[in-house]
C-alpha cells in the first residue's frame, strides 16, 4: 500500500508535504477513534480538516502533536517523525482552551514561547507584537482571570502564534467566538497563510472551511471519506438547476430528475432539476439553445460544502463513503 506522500510524488506533485500520515490507527480500550488514516498536507495554504463531532479530528491532531501515540501507522511532521523536537515550528490552538488564570497576558504568551524554545527577549518582543495586533495591549499586564472569554481566546491564539510557526494547527478555532472575533481570527489565518505558514484547522462548521480552505480532508468515524479541493468536493454532488420553461425539461439530455415547483404566468412553469452525475449545467444550457427549448430563467445552484458534508459523511455508512476519494 502506497503512502499519501508517495502517491503525491508519483503523481508528479513536487510540492513538499508538511504533514504526512500513513495508515494511522488509534484505538482506546477497544474503540477505534482513528482508522487507517492516510493523508498529506502540502506546504503553504490552508488545509481544512473536517468531520462531525467525534469523527476523530482531535485525536488525529493530538497524534500529530505527539500528545498521543498512534496504535499503528506513521506520522511525519515537517519532514520528521512526530515529536516535540521542532516545537517552535508548530503552533497549536487546542479545542479545549484554558490558561493559567493567575498569569498576566504578557507572561502567558512569553511562557508558551519559551516552552517552545524561544529566548526570553525574542519571546517578549514577539508576544508584545501579537498582543498589540490583537488589541490586547491595554490588558498586557492584567491577569488572565480578569479577561473576558473572547479576550482569553485571543491570548491563547497569540500563544500559538508566538513562535511564528511554519505549521499552525487550529482545533475548532472558531468555537465559542462571536462574529467579530471570528472575523479577526479568519484574518489572522489568512495573514499567516500569506506569510508562508501552513495552516491546518479542524472544524465541523462548513462555512469557515468554505471561506478559508484551499484543500480539504473529510473524515467520518475515524476514516477518510474525502480529500481534495473545494471544487473536487462539490463535484461529488450532482449539479442542481432552477429554471422556468414552457415544456417539461425532463427530456433534456443529462437531466436525471425534474420537479415542478410552481406555475408562472402565461403557461410558464418553475422547475427544480437534478443533473446526472458528471453532467455540468453548461451542457444543459447548450442543449436548450441547440434544441430551441424555450427558457425564461436558468439558474445554477453550486453545491455547498455543507451539502457535500451531509452527502459524504452524514447520510451514508462510512464504508460506502470511503470509496469516494479524489
Amino acid at each position: 500500500m502506497r503512502g499519501a506522500a508517495q502517491e503525491a510524488v508519483l503523481a508528479g506533485e513536487a510540492q513538499l508535504s508538511v504533514l504526512v500520515l500513513n495508515g494511522v490507527t488509534k484505538r482506546f480500550d477497544g474503540f477505534t477513534a482513528v482508522d487507517n488514516l492516510s493523508f498529506d498536507v502540502p506546504e503553504n495554504g490552508i488545509f481544512g480538516f473536517l468531520g462531525a463531532n467525534g469523527a476523530g479530528k482531535t485525536t488525529t491532531l493530538r497524534m500529530v502533536l505527539d500528545i498521543l501515540r498512534p496504535t499503528s501507522g506513521t506520522i511525519q511532521v515537517l519532514g520528521q517523525p512526530a515529536g516535540r523536537r521542532g516545537g517552535g515550528e508548530i503552533g497549536f490552538l487546542p479545542e479545549e482552551r484554558g490558561l493559567y488564570r493567575q498569569m498576566t497576558v504578557l507572561e502567558t504568551v512569553v511562557y508558551f514561547g519559551r516552552l517552545k524554545g524561544m529566548a526570553a527577549n525574542a519571546a517578549t518582543t514577539s508576544a508584545e507584537n501579537l498582543i498589540e495586533r490583537f488589541g490586547l495591549a491595554p490588558f498586557a499586564r492584567r491577569k488572565v482571570e480578569q479577561l473576558s472569554k473572547g479576550m482569553a481566546q485571543k491570548v491563547q491564539l497569540a500563544a500559538a502564534l508566538v513562535t511564528a510557526p511554519r505549521l499552525l494547527i487550529l482545533d475548532e478555532p472558531f468555537a465559542g467566538l462571536d462574529p467579530v472575533n471570528q472575523s479577526v481570527l479568519e484574518d489572522v489565518v489568512l495573514e499567516r497563510a500569506k506569510a508562508g505558514s501552513t495552516v491546518v484547522f479542524s472544524t465541523h462548521v462548513m462555512q469557515h472551511a468554505e471561506r478559508l480552505c484551499d484543500r480539504l480532508l473529510l473524515i467520518a468515524r475515524g476514516r477518510k471519506v474525502f480529500q481534495g479541493s473545494q471544487q473536487d468536493a462539490r463535484a461529488q454532488l450532482p449539479a442542481r438547476l432552477s429554471l422556468t420553461a414552457r415544456d417539461n425539461p425532463a427530456r433534456l439530455p443529462g437531466v436525471e430528475h425534474a420537479e415542478p415547483t410552481g406555475c408562472a404566468d402565461e403557461g410558464w412553469t418553475d422547475w427544480k432539476i437534478v443533473l446526472s452525475p458528471g453532467v455540468e449545467a453548461g451542457s444543459v444550457l447548450e442543449a436548450c439553445t441547440r434544441d430551441g427549448f424555450a427558457l425564461r430563467r436558468f439558474e445554477t445552484h453550486r453545491a455547498s460544502l455543507h451539502d457535500v458534508f451531509l452527502h459524504l459523511a452524514g447520510g451514508q455508512p462510512v464504508g460506502d463513503a470511503s470509496e469516494v476519494q479524489s
Binding site: R62, I67, L68, Q102, M103, L115, G117
Partner: protein, 498 residues
C-alpha cells in the same frame, strides 16, 4: 532555558503568589511568638502563699525558718548550675555553690545565709562571670509565708479562723512579691503537743503536698525534740541529734548530659526536621495538588503538552514543589535560629548541645539526604493524587488515607525515638521506604549503625526510582482524561500518552 526548569519556575512563582503560602509561611513564627506571649501573659505567677497562726508562739517561727532554708537550698542549687555552666569559682565561707549543683544540706544553707545569702552571691557573680553570660536570675520562691489577711480572725480559736479564712482561699492575696494564690492556712493551738490536740489546716481544694509535708515535718521534729527533752536528753545532745542527716552524695550530671536529656537533645533537631518535613510536604503538596487539578479542569494541559513532554511537566512540577517546601523550611529554620539567639541561654543550653549530635559530616550528609529524598518521595505521592483527580473533592478521597498513612506512624515513630532510638519500631520503620526518612532522621542524632544508614538509604533511592516510573505512567495516562473516571490500575496499564 530548559522546559523542565521553566515549568518549575512557573509552579514556584504561582504558589509563592498565593495568600495561603504567605499565611502558612508566617503561621509557624506567629504561633511560636503567640504561645510565648500568651504563656507570659496568662500563666499564673509562680509560688503560693501560706498563713500560719500559732497560738503557742513556738512553732510558727520554726515553720517560717524551714521555708526560708528550703528556699535557700533551691537558690543554692540554681547557683551551682549557673556556676558550673559559666565556670565561675566563687570564694569565701558561703560559696558552697561553686562546686556545682547538688543536694545542699540545711547546714550549707545556713552557711550561705550567714555569708550574705543571695545578695553576696550576686556580688561575686557580677565580679566573676564572663561578659557573654547572662545575669543570674534566682528561682521564684515556691512558698511565701504571709500574715493573716485583714478580717481573718486569729484570736477566737480554729473554727473562727477557718471560717474567716475560707473566702481568701478562693482568690489571690497580697504578698511581698505580688498577688498570689493562698494555698494553705495553718492553725496551731496554744496547747499543741498535749495529747489529742491537733493542728488544723485549710487548703484551697488542691492540697499542696510538698507544703503540707514541710509544715508537718517541722511540727513533728519539734514534738520529737520535746519528747526527747522530756525523756532526759540534755539540750546539747538534742541539738546534736537534730543536725543528724543521712550522708548522701548526690552527683548531678551537667545540664543536658542525663540519659533522658541526652536523648531529647540529640533527637531534638533531627525530629524537628522530620516534623518540618511532614508539615511542609502537607502544605506544599496540597498547593501543588490544587495547581494540577486547576490545570486539568481548565483544559490547559493540551496546550502545555503540545510544547513539552509529560515527563518534563512532571519533573518541573516536582522541582517547583520541592523548592517551595525548602523555601518554607529555610524560612522557618531562620526564624527559629534568630529566636534562639535572641532568647538568652537557648543557644548554650539547647542549640549547641543539639548540634553536637549532627556535627559529624556523615551524619549531617545522611540527614540532608533523608530530608531531600523524603521530600521528593512524598511530593510524588501528592502529584499522583493530583494526576488522577478531576476536582479537589476527588482528591480528598485519596488525600485522607494518604495523610493518615503518613501521620499516624510518624507520631508513633517520634514518641518511640524519644524513649529508645534503637527500639524495634524505629528500627523496623527505618527499612520501610515511606517511613524511612522520618525514622532515620529521628534516629540519626542518637547514632545509627552505618549498614542501616546505607541499606535504608539505598532502598529509599530504589523506591523513589520505582515511584518515578509509576508516576510517569500515571501522568502520561491521566493528563488528558479529565472527566473520565479511570481507576488507578487502569491508568497504570495505559501507555497511550507520549
Amino acid at each position: 532555558m530548559n522546559a523542565t526548569w521553566l515549568v518549575a519556575v512557573r509552579e514556584f512563582r504561582q504558589i509563592c503568589a498565593t495568600r495561603s503560602f504567605w499565611l502558612t509561611l508566617l503561621m509557624l513564627p506567629i504561633a511560636i511568638v503567640l504561645s510565648q506571649v500568651s504563656a507570659r501573659l496568662f500563666a499564673p505567677p509562680p509560688g503560693v502563699a501560706i498563713v500560719v497562726v500559732d497560738d503557742s508562739g513556738r512553732y510558727g517561727p520554726m515553720i517560717q525558718r524551714r521555708i526560708a532554708l528550703d528556699r535557700d537550698r533551691q537558690v543554692l542549687n540554681e547557683l551551682g548550675t549557673y556556676a558550673q555552666r559559666w565556670k565561675i569559682k566563687p570564694t569565701g565561707e558561703g560559696a558552697v555553690w561553686g562546686a556545682g549543683p547538688k543536694l545542699f544540706t540545711p547546714g550549707e544553707a545556713q552557711a550561705f545565709e550567714a555569708a550574705g545569702g543571695l545578695a553576696a552571691a550576686q556580688t561575686q557573680i557580677a565580679r566573676l562571670k564572663p561578659a557573654s553570660a547572662p545575669d543570674f536570675r534566682p528561682p521564684a520562691a515556691g512558698f511565701i509565708p504571709i500574715s493573716a489577711p485583714p478580717g481573718v480572725i486569729v484570736n477566737q480559736g480554729p473554727e473562727a479562723f477557718g471560717t474567716s479564712l475560707k473566702p481568701y482561699l478562693l482568690k489571690d492575696v497580697v504578698t511581698p512579691v505580688g498577688p498570689r494564690q493562698l494555698a494553705l492556712g495553718v492553725y496551731i493551738p496554744a496547747n499543741f503537743g498535749s495529747p489529742g490536740v491537733v493542728v488544723r489546716m485549710w487548703t484551697n481544694g488542691r492540697p499542696n503536698v510538698e507544703l503540707v509535708e514541710t509544715v508537718r515535718q517541722e511540727l513533728s521534729g519539734a514534738m520529737r525534740a520535746h519528747a526527747l527533752q522530756s525523756a532526759g536528753v540534755n539540750m546539747a545532745a538534742l541539738a546534736s541529734i537534730q543536725t543528724i542527716n543521712a550522708p548522701v552524695s548526690l552527683t548531678a550530671p551537667p545540664a543536658g548530659s542525663g540519659t533522658r536529656e541526652r536523648l531529647m537533645l540529640h533527637s531534638a533537631l533531627p525530629l524537628a526536621l522530620a516534623y518540618l518535613l511532614l508539615i511542609s510536604i502537607m502544605t506544599s503538596g496540597s498547593w501543588m495538588l490544587q495547581g494540577l487539578i486547576e490545570e486539568r479542569s481548565n483544559k490547559l494541559l493540551e496546550s502545555v503538552l503540545a510544547c513539552i513532554t509529560p515527563d518534563q511537566l512532571l519533573y518541573g512540577k516536582l522541582i517547583g514543589m520541592v523548592a517551595v517546601g525548602l523555601l518554607m523550611i529555610t524560612a522557618w529554620l531562620a526564624f527559629a535560629i534568630s529566636a534562639a539567639f535572641s532568647v538568652q541561654g537557648v543557644v548554650a543550653d539547647f542549640l549547641r548541645p543539639a548540634l553536637v549530635s549532627i556535627s559529624s559530616p556523615w551524619i549531617a550528609a545522611a540527614l540532608i539526604y533523608y530530608f531531600l529524598a523524603g521530600y521528593v518521595m512524598l511530593s510524588m505521592m501528592f502529584l499522583a493524587v493530583g494526576a488522577v483527580s478531576d476536582s479537589m473533592r476527588d482528591a480528598q478521597g485519596y488525600m485522607m488515607p494518604l495523610v493518615l498513612m503518613l501521620t499516624i506512624p510518624f507520631v508513633a515513630i517520634a514518641s518511640s525515638v524519644l524513649q529508645n532510638p534503637d527500639g524495634p519500631l524505629p528500627r523496623v520503620m527505618s527499612w520501610i521506604p515511606i517511613y524511612a526518612p522520618f525514622a532515620m532522621m529521628a534516629r540519626l542524632g542518637s547514632g545509627v549503625p552505618a549498614y542501616e544508614v546505607i541499606g535504608s538509604g539505598v532502598i529509599l533511592a530504589a523506591f523513589i526510582g520505582f515511584e518515578l516510573v509509576l508516576l510517569s505512567r500515571i501522568f502520561r495516562s491521566s493528563l488528558l482524561q479529565a472527566g473520565q473516571s479511570l481507576g488507578l490500575l487502569s491508568l497504570l496499564r495505559k501507555r497511550a500518552v507520549a
